[in-house]
């Protein structure tokens, strides 16, 4: 079963969890937008670190510390390459996408947003790209504006322009919607924003794991994403920021490792990137994340994307054959990722998810941390199936069959 250069059968062998039985059925894991599964290469990298060279990093003379420091900093270089950053100082290790965005809201935001300024968001943002800005706006008496979305799940072009023409200070925007799957035209938006002097933060939580992302090409000012959604461990996220911006920002958290000198009443900050990495880093998981990047590179991000396009168009076709099943977001797979949100008649998503679970199929149901979008779609909740490299058309067939059975059980 070779799909556009991806050998799914071989890949599946690398993921121990795929051997798991749920209620006697083989696990079908379609909750990848929440978190991905991990290949043994990643799991082993973590075990190996703890079993062979665990030590605290930086300024260490003993051998374990030297090895750990090297391994940790090597992963930074891998990330730099993976997103094509210009400088290694531009890649910061944080906990997750959420912390990356909070870091910008605290460190850049506190210094650059004043009373009356506008922070521009979109109606399809994840709570992690809303709340930090709400907190900032409240503190500074700034305004929040939201770019609206069309009924087929795209940002409204005219509102993008109109709002950017009004010179907000920053646009914080998701690259890919975690509910609609919509891929936003970030490169064009950034170009227009920069013409208006607007800084752009891109929430890459759902894009970086699923397609090639090139920060120099996008020209965005900040990019945030999470290791755990791209085969890597929990507890690691990345904030990319342009060097000049990061250089001019005050530190976010204070503590060990982010300083050069500390005196009783003042301190001198460390160079980038360490200025923003306070306290003992999540060394093991950063190293695990390195193994995840290696794994994705071996497959090739173009192939990851192609495989998902293939699965998604297959699933969209099959699912749209089911009467009363409503799919949210763009229909054209060229403009969307492998995230399919849907509802069946008026069956509550939690009932759908429970029944799928009893057949070993893991999807997510609820508001998906996007309540403003739920309000916009005028639904309390949706079901969401989301795919990754180890998923197959056979799995989609099984899900589609259960969806049909659900309709029978519920007599609709």
């Amino acid at each position: 079963m070779k799909l556009k250069g991806i050998n799914v059968e071989a890949i599946r062998k690398d993921f121990p969890i795929l051997k798991r039985k749920i209620n006697g059925k083989s696990l079908i894991y379609f909750d990848n937008a929440a978190t991905s599964q991990k290949p043994r290469q990643v799991i082993n990298a973590i075990s190996k670190y703890y079993s062979l060279y665990n030590a605290n990093i930086h300024r260490t003379i003993h051998k374990l510390g030297v090895e750990a420091t090297e391994a940790y900093e090597n992963v930074r270089d891998k990330v730099v390459k993976f997103i094509n950053a210009k400088h290694r100082e531009e890649v910061l290790f944080v906990r997750n996408t959420t912390e990356a965005i909070n870091l910008v809201a605290y460190s850049w935001g506190r210094a650059n947003i004043s009373k009356g300024d506008t922070i521009l968001l979109t109606e399809m943002e994840h709570h992690s790209n809303i709340i930090p800005w709400q907190l900032l706006a409240k503190e500074k008496s700034a305004n929040l504006k939201y770019i609206g979305i069309t009924d087929d799940g795209f940002l409204k072009d005219d509102e993008i322009k109109e709002y950017l023409d009004n010179h907000p200070k920053i646009l914080a925007i998701t690259h890919v919607s975690n509910v609609l799957g919509t891929i936003n035209p970030i490169k064009e938006i950034v170009r227009y924003a920069h013409k208006n002097g607007v800084i752009v933060l891109v929430d890459g939580a759902q894009s970086v794991p699923h397609m090639p992302v090139n920060v120099q090409d996008l020209d965005c000012d900040f990019l945030a994403f999470s290791s755990h959604k791209m085969l890597g461990p929990t507890g690691v996220g990345i904030l990319y920021g342009k060097r000049e911006l990061l250089e001019n920002m005050e530190p976010f958290q204070g503590g060990g490792d982010m300083i050069k000198e500390v005196h009783l009443n003042y301190a001198k900050w460390n160079d980038l990137p360490w200025k923003f990495e306070a306290g003992t880093a999540n060394i093991a998981d950063v190293i695990g994340f390195g193994a995840a990047i290696d794994y994705l590179n071996k497959i090739g991000m173009e192939n990851v994307r192609a495989h998902e396009v293939d699965l998604t168009s297959y699933a969209l076709n099959k699912m749209s054959e089911i009467e009363n099943l409503k799919i949210y977001g763009p229909i054209d797979v060229n403009y969307r990722c492998g995230v399919i949100s849907f509802n069946i008649g008026n069956i509550h998503p939690h009932d759908v998810a429970t029944i799928l679970d009893s057949e070993g199929i893991a999807i997510r149901s609820g508001h998906h941390c996007a309540q403003p979008l739920m309000e916009r779609l005028n639904v309390p909740a949706v079901n969401r199936a989301s795919f990754y490299i180890y998923n197959t058309k056979e799995e989609i067939d099984i899900m589609v069959n259960v969806l049909k059975e659900i309709k029978e059980v519920f007599k609709i």
């Binding site: 209620n23 509550h348 009932d351 429970t354 609820g366 519920f410």
Partner: protein
């Protein structure tokens, strides 16, 4: 499919005692923010303190609607004292269900939670009425 037995679907599709009551002795609403479920209960009591009439309304998943529906059947004619003793086992049994697991149990419990809240409020009112 195991947890969605005939009985659940039947109660969900054809909820018993669905609607509202005018001037009920007990009127209470509970919601489950996780699911967005809302259940309202209306109860009229006889002078001897037993349930004369009961209705419910609201929206929710199959489990919470079926649980509310079957609850109205269970409590019809029962004494207040008996109502206090009701718990999730009664609902699970009445709906002929297996263990729904820790997340979905909240849905099943919602109507009982509403009932208990209603009882507490009613009894408080009674006490303060008898005092005044």
């Amino acid at each position: 499919m195991s947890i969605y037995r005939e009985k659940v679907i039947d109660h969900y599709k054809n909820p018993r005692n669905f609607g509202k009551l005018d001037n009920p002795d007990i009127e209470v609403k509970e919601s489950n923010p996780l699911c967005g479920d809302d259940i309202e209960l209306y109860i009229k009591l006889n002078t001897n303190g037993s349930v004369a009439d009961v209705k419910f309304s609201g929206k929710g998943c199959a489990l919470s609607i079926a649980a509310a529906s079957v609850l109205t059947e269970i409590i019809s004619g029962k004494k207040l004292k008996e109502l206090k003793r009701l718990n999730k086992k009664d609902i699970i049994k009445a709906l002929d269900l297996p263990d729904p697991g820790p997340t979905r149990i909240e849905c099943l419990l919602l109507p009982i939670k509403a009932l208990k809240l209603g009882l507490t409020e009613y009894l408080k009112r009674e006490v303060s009425n008898s005092k005044s």
